[in-house]
Symmetry: C2
Subunit: 231 residues, 2 copies
DNA sequence: CGTAGAGGATTGTTCAACGATCCCTCAATA
DNA sequence: TATTGAGGGATCGTTGAACAATCCTCTACG
């Protein structure tokens, strides 16, 4: 913990613009996403507030933001912790993804669609794979699906899924087998993109449903083993 | 012993204590839902904090919670206001509802389904209508759709829609023609329930889609006129 | 009639303080 | 040995106060 706090103090320089609480939450969010604060870590008000040089009130506001995003859990009189997803959480995340993402594809109007964002995410994934950056592939996969949801052109839907995808990262980090987890889906993203480019919504939806089912199965299998280790 | 412990664990939810900020936000949330604080109302820190007997810091924390739920908007140095939805907001709410609610119905497995909650909401609406309580009918309608979403058995999906329905109430309060707004949908809820009881998902989905399209059209029509008046 | 500015009211932000709660330790007891 | 209970330290929850920044209103003046 001491090591982490020292590094965290370096982030203090970034604290110059916009709302302080938001900037603090940005810092913490990326620290969590990159695994610097692994799931289960307790985030103390005193030490983090001290390291970042912000007051407790401001820090608590930042905690609220991240709690609302489900990245932190708040236990009364005990503080906030980086969330530890249960297997049920992972299943629910995929249930929600399947429901929403498939509905987005089904609800698309007539082609052509604005697929630039999707194509860019595919390219991002390919590039990361070439460089052996498997975590980058995972990020690109999430971008792909975020762009997919964006096709619905609904602010609220996009926001829900943003938080769902952020949660999913927590699971990926626990599993920590990025290549095995992400590589197989590069090709499947391409197939979905091609189906959409061809205007074939039904095929895209089928591919997507199969994708999500397979991905859930694989994540849960490894996740269950990994969670079992600790208990 | 194991059996007893399991039962005890269920009781844990009952003694889940909450912070004062959460209790304050609960109070304000229901006040907003019932129209006691209509959209556009400014919530002053002094008067509300004084009335509820909580400090400014605590009250501000409650405000933040409700702001995250999109029930309040925060204007810098001016305070918080009960949100006034734009026509675009209303359209996006219905876009999200259509996407999610139809997907829930489509994603149901094989019948029979657990439809007790839906039936209860229908009965609630009928009773309110008999008593001429049109706001109660609106509440019952929202309950109906909340129960519908619950059929997906996804915690995350249910939570998203809870907040969407809470926002929708804001629109209803602006329109303020509860009978015209809610009465037509009592019968349509019944029809959807019957289709589900008959195990006919496709018909239920069609009815639902038509319902939402009509409702959106009607709400937006009146809403646009009402918003125009003020400006 | 329009505008500039003074003054009051309200919010933004931080800090210090105190009570409440949790967690760990350790001794007493069966 | 295992369980219980009593301390004590650490941390959180909440309040109140203080001061700066901003907004709003009303007045005075051109």
């Amino acid at each position: 913990m001491a090591e982490q706090l020292k590094d965290l103090a370096d982030d203090r320089a970034l604290l110059g613009r916009t709302s302080t609480a938001e900037r603090v939450s940005d810092i913490l969010r990326s620290r969590i996403a990159e695994g610097y604060f692994p799931p289960g870590t307790r985030l103390s008000e005193d030490s983090i507030g001290g390291a970042l040089g912000v007051s407790r009130n401001t820090l608590r506001e930042a905690f609220r933001l991240l709690t609302h995003e489900r990245l932190l859990v708040h236990e009364l009189n005990r503080g906030v912790f980086v969330r530890v997803l249960t297997v049920e959480d992972v299943e629910d995340i995929y249930r929600t993804r399947r429901l929403v993402e498939c509905a987005v594809v089904r609800g698309l109007g007539d082609p052509p669609y604005g697929l630039d964002g999707l194509a860019a995410a595919v390219e991002e994934g390919r590039r990361a794979a070439r460089e052996g950056d498997w975590k980058g592939v995972g990020t690109a996969n999430i971008h792909f699906h975020r762009e997919l949801v964006a096709l619905a052109a609904s602010e609220r839907t996009a926001e829900l899924m943003r938080s769902v995808f952020a949660e999913l990262r927590l699971a990926f980090h626990v599993v920590d087998e990025p290549q095995r987890l992400h590589e197989p889906y590069i090709a499947r993203n391409v197939a979905i993109l091609q189906a959409l480019q061809a205007g074939d919504r039904a095929r895209a939806e089928n591919l997507l449903a199969g994708y999500l089912d397979d991905s859930l199965e694989r994540v849960v299998e490894v996740y269950r083993r990994r969670v079992g280790e600790d208990g």
